[in-house]
Symmetry: none
Subunit: 201 residues, 4 copies
C-alpha cells in the first residue's frame, strides 16, 4: 500500500497502479460525460498517466472500456442454483435486468453494445468474450429444468432474455420484476393465456 510498494514501471514489468488508474478513469469518464467524453487524452490526464502508457497496453479507448468491464458479467450474472429451478430462473432474470439498467458495469456494457453497432470487430469480441460465455451460463441454468440440450435451449433463452435487452437498448422502458417474472412464467407455464401475462405485470 505504501508508495514504496507501488510498481512505477521498470524492467520488472508494467505498473499495476497505472493500469488500475486508467481503467478507473475510463469508468469515471463514461459515467460522468458519456461515451463521447471518454478520450485517451482525458483518461491519461485523469489517471495521471501518459498517453504513451495507454497506447502501449491498449489499442483504443474501447479496449480500455472492454478491460474495465473485466469479469463483471461472470461475477454478477452467474445464475443462482438453489435447487428450485423456477426460483433460480426468476432470480436470474431479475438480476440481469438490474445489472443492465442500474449497475456501473451494465452502463459499460450498454456503451460497448452501442459502439458495437458501428464496429463489427468490437461486436465479435464482445460476443466471444462476454456474451457467448454468458449464454453458456444461461444454458446451464436451463439444463437444470430438465430441458434437453439443443437449439431449443437457445431459442428459449432468446425469448427469455431478448425482451429484457430490447427494453434496455431500444424502448428504454423500465424492466421491473413484474416484467421479468412474466417472462419466466411464460416459460414455466406455456399454457397460460396472453392476458394472464399482463395480469402479473
Amino acid at each position: 500500500m505504501d508508495a514504496v510498494d507501488v510498481h512505477r514501471g521498470n524492467r520488472h514489468g508494467r505498473s499495476e497502479a497505472a493500469r488500475a488508474a486508467v481503467l478507473h478513469a475510463a469508468d469515471d469518464l463514461l459515467a460522468e460525460r458519456g461515451f463521447a467524453g471518454v478520450t485517451i487524452e482525458g483518461i491519461a490526464e485523469r489517471a495521471g498517466v501518459s498517453k504513451q502508457t495507454i497506447y502501449r497496453w491498449w489499442p483504443s479507448k474501447v479496449d480500455v472500456l472492454f478491460e474495465a468491464l473485466g469479469d463483471d458479467l461472470a461475477e454478477d450474472l452467474t445464475p443462482p442454483d438453489t435447487g428450485v429451478f423456477a426460483d433460480d430462473l426468476r432470480d436470474y432474470l431479475r438480476t440481469l435486468a438490474l445489472f443492465l439498467t442500474h449497475s456501473d458495469p451494465g452502463a459499460v456494457l450498454r456503451a460497448l453494445t452501442g459502439q458495437a453497432q458501428h464496429d463489427p470487430a468490437l461486436a465479435e469480441r464482445l460476443r466471444a468474450e462476454h456474451l457467448r460465455p454468458q449464454r453458456e451460463r444461461e444454458r446451464a441454468l436451463l439444463a437444470r429444468a430438465g430441458l434437453p440440450p439443443g437449439p431449443g435451449t437457445d431459442a428459449a433463452l432468446d425469448r427469455l432474455t431478448g425482451p429484457i435487452y430490447y427494453r434496455v437498448l431500444v424502448t428504454g422502458d423500465p424492466v421491473p420484476p413484474s416484467f421479468t417474472d412474466a417472462l419466466a412464467d411464460a416459460f414455466l407455464s406455456p399454457g397460460r393465456d396472453h392476458s394472464s401475462a399482463s395480469s402479473s405485470a
Copy 2:
C-alpha cells in the same frame, strides 16, 4: 423538372436539391464506410454542398442520418392486413427481421440505435418519432387478433419483437423465418412445448 424549377435556395426556402443530396450522401457513406466514416466534411464533399449548408439545417451528423431514415419504418413496416391474423403476424415478423438485418434503412436504424446508447436525447427522439409510432402499428395488428387492448398487448409485443431486436443488436445471430415463425407460433399456440419451438427452425 427543368433546371428552372430547381430551388437554389433563396428567401422562399431552402434548396430541395441540396437537402436530397445531403441525405443521399449520408446514406451512402454509412453503407460504404460505416458510422465513423460519416463525417460532415465527407457528406459535404460527396453531396457537392458546403459544410455551412449542412450546419444550417442539421445540428449534427446524427440528425442528418435521422432525417435520412425518413418514413421508411412506416412505409416498410406497416403490418399487412389480409384478414387472416396468423398469416399477418408471421408476415410482419419476417418483414421486420429482414428490414433490420438486410435493408438500407435498417442499417441506418441500427446505427442510430447504437448511437442512442451514448446519447439520451437521440434515444428519446428515436422512440418518439419512430419506435412508438411503430409500436402503435403493431398494436393495431394485435388488436385484430381479438386481444383486448391493454398492457398485455405491449408485453406480448415485447416478447414478439424483443428477441428479434436482441439477435440483431446483441448476438448478431441471423434471424431466419424459422425463428420469427416460432415466435409467432408461441403467441398463437401458447400451449406448445418448448422443444417444438426449435423443431420448426
Copy 3:
C-alpha cells in the same frame, strides 16, 4: 427629408439613403472595431441594407471606405492663403498633423494607407485620387513662397510632410505644433543650425 422623399431605389437610380447608411456604417465600424471589424456583412447589418446592395455598388470593403473618405482631404487640407506665406505653411502643417492623428477621416486614411501596403491597386488609387491632388494643393502653397516650380518643390514637400507621415505611420510619436513648426522653420530659414530645430520643440 420626409420618408416620402427617400429614394428607395427604382429604375431611376439608386437609393441615396442606402448609400449614406453604408458609408456611415463602415465609418462607425472602423472607429469601433478597427479595420478587421469592418466586414461587408457587418456593414449590411448595421446599415439595414442587404449585402447585394453593397456588392452592387462597391467591389469590396476598401472601396466602401474609400468612398467614405469622400472629399475630406480637399475640404480639410486645402492650405490657407492669408497672404503671409510663413503663417500659411505653419498653419498647414499643423492642420495636416491634426488631420492625420485625431480626425475621423484621418483614421480612414491611415487604415487605407495600411491596407495599401498589401494591395498595390489600392495604393495606386489612393495616390491618384487623394495623394497627388493633395500634393498639387501643397505645390500651390509653396508656389506662393516665390519658389520656382520644379522638382525642387516636390523634394521640399517630401521633407516637410514626410516626417509628419513618418511619425504617424511608423513611430507613432505625437506630432505636436512644435514639431511641425520646426519643419516649417527649417524650410523658411535653412541657415539655422540643427540644435535650434529642437529648441522650439
Copy 4:
C-alpha cells in the same frame, strides 16, 4: 547534421526544423502572393507542418512574419563607421532606402507596418523590438557628427529618415541615391538654398 540530430520535438523542446520551415514558408508566401496570400493553412502546407504546430508557437500569422523578420534590421541596417561622418550618413540613407524598397526583409517590414495601422499591439511591438533599436543605432551615427545628444538628434533623424519612409509607404515614389544624398546634404550643409536640393536629384 544527420537525421539523428534533428530535433523532432519532444519534452526537451520544439523542433527547430519545423520552426525554420514555417518561417521560410511564410516569407515565401509573402513574396509570392502578398500579405493576404499568407494563411496559416498555406504556411502549414508549404512547410510540411501541421496547423497545430504553428498555433502552438505563434498566436497569429503576423507573429510568424514578425519572427521571420528576425534580426535583419540589426544586420542590414547598422550604419557604417569609416571615420568619415558625411560618407557614413550618405551610405546609411542609401542602404536604408534600398532595404525598404528592394530587399526581402524590407517587404516583410512594409507588410507589418501596413498591418500595424490596423493593430495597435503589433504597432507597439514593431516599435519596441525593431524601430526603437534601429533609432538607437541611428543616434549613435549622429553622435559621431559631434552633435550633442538630446531631442535635437531625434528631430534631425525624423527629417533624415521620415521622407524615405514617406516615399516608401505613402507616395510609392522611388527613393534613388540622389534623393537620400540630398537629405544628407541638407543635414550636413543647412545653409544651402532649397533649389540646390533638387539640383542634385
